[in-house]
Amino acid sequence: MIAIETLRTEFPALQRQVNSRPLAYLDNAATSQKPLAVLQAMDDYYRLHNANVHRGVHTLSEEATALYEGARGRIARFIHAPSSKQVIFTRNATEAVNLVAYSWGLSTLRAGDEVLITEMEHHADIVPWQIITERTGATLRYVPLAPEGTLRLDLLDTLLTERTRLFAFTAMSNVLGTINPVAELVQRAHAVGALALVDGAQSVPHLPVDVQALDCDFLVFSGHKMCGPTGSGVLYGRRELLETMPPFMGGGDMIREVRLSGSRWNSLPWKFEAGTPAIAEVIGLGAAVDYLSALGMEWVRQREHELVRYAMQQLSQVEGLHILGPGPEQRGGAVAFTLGDVHPHDIAAILDAEGIAIRAGHHCAQPIHDFYGIPASARASFYFYNTLEEIDRLAVALTKVQTLLG
């Protein structure tokens, strides 16, 4: 039994007051708060071991390299990657999608090929494919949404064809909270000879993820949504693919040798890590993964499931409130909603006055809002450290919004 109040003391930002009230931080789908263990690991690196990695023969450089590569190994184990060579550090999930799009996409896609994504995607998994398909002459297709906030998987038979080269989809919607059947979708992609890229930005922080069980070809995620620092992200890739893909960016560290006549690339994973990496951030992400592993991802999933079930129950009692997306059984930690005709920015501003932080806007997923014919929505999103009391405060504050502006 993990005591939530004790666990919360490990997160300095959760001790804050906002507008004279205890902060209720319900914007975790945007970014999570950071535990002391992560802050300490980054601080230790800068105070004690600060040096560049992979270069020096001096003590500090060796220590920094051991910490950086050690984090890679722990992150690889966290997602059950067969080898740490398959874990490539990027700035965030967005950069990881772009790496695949520019490296694999530009060198592979031709006119007549198709890339399939979904209407549920975050802009990070839409825009790179719009750019790359336009440049290569390939066609971009979308799996449509169903009104209940799930994917129209009944249409997959016609959308996934022998022309499909890649099926890229989110494991969990950052707006609707919908958890997609990842293993099944990967299998469907493979059945027509397509690769499968999984956007794990919302799933890796909240669920146990095993890339070998999912059998995906690529998985992308961001460190800052899983207790880690901003500037740390991961691309996991199938070994044979990463070996044959051309570099994404050129520079130091990604080369074996550089001659005026040309260069040869470094081996994996460094082939894709040009320049001095975000050393402190990767070390911080390693500490975040240790922290989450100690809690246990099964526990994190269960805890959030309780929070979301309770939140949906409490929010559905607020007059005029409409929740987007499926019921709690098929949902992760995000609950987006509308409240009558009240503009989401008004909702968020009034909640902020109560010390409650939520997101308002289109959450980098405009197509979802277009589908529902709304310009924006409000979103409360939970992490394991949130409490039922915070959800009660949210419901009370939303009733106040309804009285004030409804």
Binding site: V342, P344, H345, D346, A349, P375, A376
Partner: protein
């Protein structure tokens, strides 16, 4: 912070003045704020260089809608020359609230439409 939604603002939001369209406006300008989806169309009737009537239509947050309502109320009777001098500080004084940088864009959207209309800037 509750003062952002003080009673007068709420009153203008719930009961907007001059919402709708004029029969034959002399000046009409639309603008929008892509960040939050606020939209406004402002119409002015002008006789001898003086605004004799004004109307607005649009959708958005309470701040942008209350601001449009209060602004249309205020500018009727003013000359176009006066309105060219009339600006951000005047509108914020009308609103009478302290406002952060993000919501400032909401509050000032009606003014953007007014300025573009008064100076004869082409619509996008």
């Amino acid at each position: 912070m509750d003062s952002l939604y003080r009673e007068e603002i709420l009153d203008h939001y719930r009961h907007p003045r001059h919402r709708g369209h004029l029969a034959a406006p002399d000046i009409s300008h639309s603008d929008h704020n892509p960040f939050c989806g606020d939209e406004i169309t402002l119409e002015l009737k002008v006789e001898d260089g003086v605004v004799t009537d004004a109307a607005f239509d649009g959708r958005g947050c309470a701040i942008s809608q209350a601001s449009a309502s209060m602004m249309t109320d205020e500018i009727i009777g003013k000359s176009l020359d006066e309105l060219k001098q009339w600006g951000k500080d005047d509108l914020l004084a009308l609103l009478g609230i302290e406002i952060g940088p993000v919501r400032l864009k909401c509050a000032l959207l009606p003014l953007k439409a007014l300025k573009a209309g008064v100076w004869g800037v082409d619509e996008e």
